[in-house]
């Protein structure tokens, strides 16, 4: 299975250019920033914005889950009241 995966990667990007090509894609997506110093080129992860977004998503997921728990209880109460009304009629 591993060799099949390596074959697939090989086909997509020949080994010599694969790393620089991947870095270019990551740089274009603003996931890394790159700087040059002499013959070395440094890449930095740019993950701070992701943290803020992940916190926001977590907060809303909790908000929805707490609301939907209350919605369950509300819908049960509304239907119980309806059944009671029908019985009394």
């Amino acid at each position: 299975m591993l060799s099949a995966l390596l074959d697939a990667i090989e086909q997509l990007a020949p080994r010599q250019t694969a790393v620089s090509r991947h870095l270019k894609v990551l740089e274009e997506a603003a996931l890394i920033s790159r700087s040059r110093s002499g013959k070395w080129r440094a890449s930095h992860l740019e993950a701070a914005a992701l943290r803020e977004a992940a916190d926001w998503i977590d907060r809303f997921r909790r908000f929805w889950n707490m609301s939907l728990d209350r919605l369950d209880a509300h819908l049960a109460a509304v239907q119980a009241a309806d059944r009671l009304d029908k019985k009394e009629l």
Binding site: M1, A4, L5, L26, A29, A30, L31, E46, A47, A49, L50, E52, A53, W56, I57, F60, R61, F63, W64, N65, M66, S67, L68, R70, L71, D72, A73, H74, L75, A76, V78, Q79
Partner: protein
């Protein structure tokens, strides 16, 4: 303004028919009974709904334990199909918890029939624009691709084991 893919997806089945579930979102008296965590209250005289495409939903949220907070919600409804769909942009302003700045977020709630008279809610929400810089969007897309790749690898590995 918003990327196509929502960043938050919640699927939930409630034990009520579709029409009733829809009314829980669109009838002011009903929404006030369940919206937000417990302790959250919606003063009735500050709820105003005009539920139709191009209409709105407005309310204020107050928390008894935190009288300093007062959250104003104003939803511009972009799409409404009775019993089926609510979609809009929610503007959140006022004094928010944790020093959160006012923001706006696109959302969509679909109501689907389930067996035994139950309803499946499909809730989708989009990150506010200020959190969707190229870096965030790039990461979220990369993580989605990673998920897909890992699932594919697991499937290939499961096949190889047979």
């Amino acid at each position: 303004m918003y990327p196509d893919e929502p960043q938050l997806a919640i699927s939930r089945v409630v034990d009520a028919p579709r029409g009733l579930a829809f009314r829980a979102f669109t009838d002011p008296d009903q929404l006030a009974m369940w919206w937000g965590p417990s302790g959250n209250t919606l003063p009735r005289d500050e709820i105003e709904f005009d539920v139709r495409p191009g209409g709105f939903q407005r309310w204020t949220e107050v928390v008894a334990a935190r009288p300093d907070l007062r959250v104003h919600i104003h939803i511009d409804l972009t799409d409404v199909a009775d019993g089926d769909l609510l979609e809009g942009v929610m503007h959140v302003t006022g004094r928010l918890q944790d020093d959160i700045e006012p923001f706006e977020t696109r959302f969509r709630v679909e109501f689907h029939d389930e067996p035994d008279g139950r309803t499946r809610l499909e809730i989708r929400q989009w990150l506010p624009a200020h959190l969707t810089g190229p870096s965030t969007q790039g990461w979220l897309e990369a993580l989605d691709k990673l998920d897909a790749t890992l699932l594919h690898i697991q499937a290939v590995a499961a096949d190889a084991e047979v």
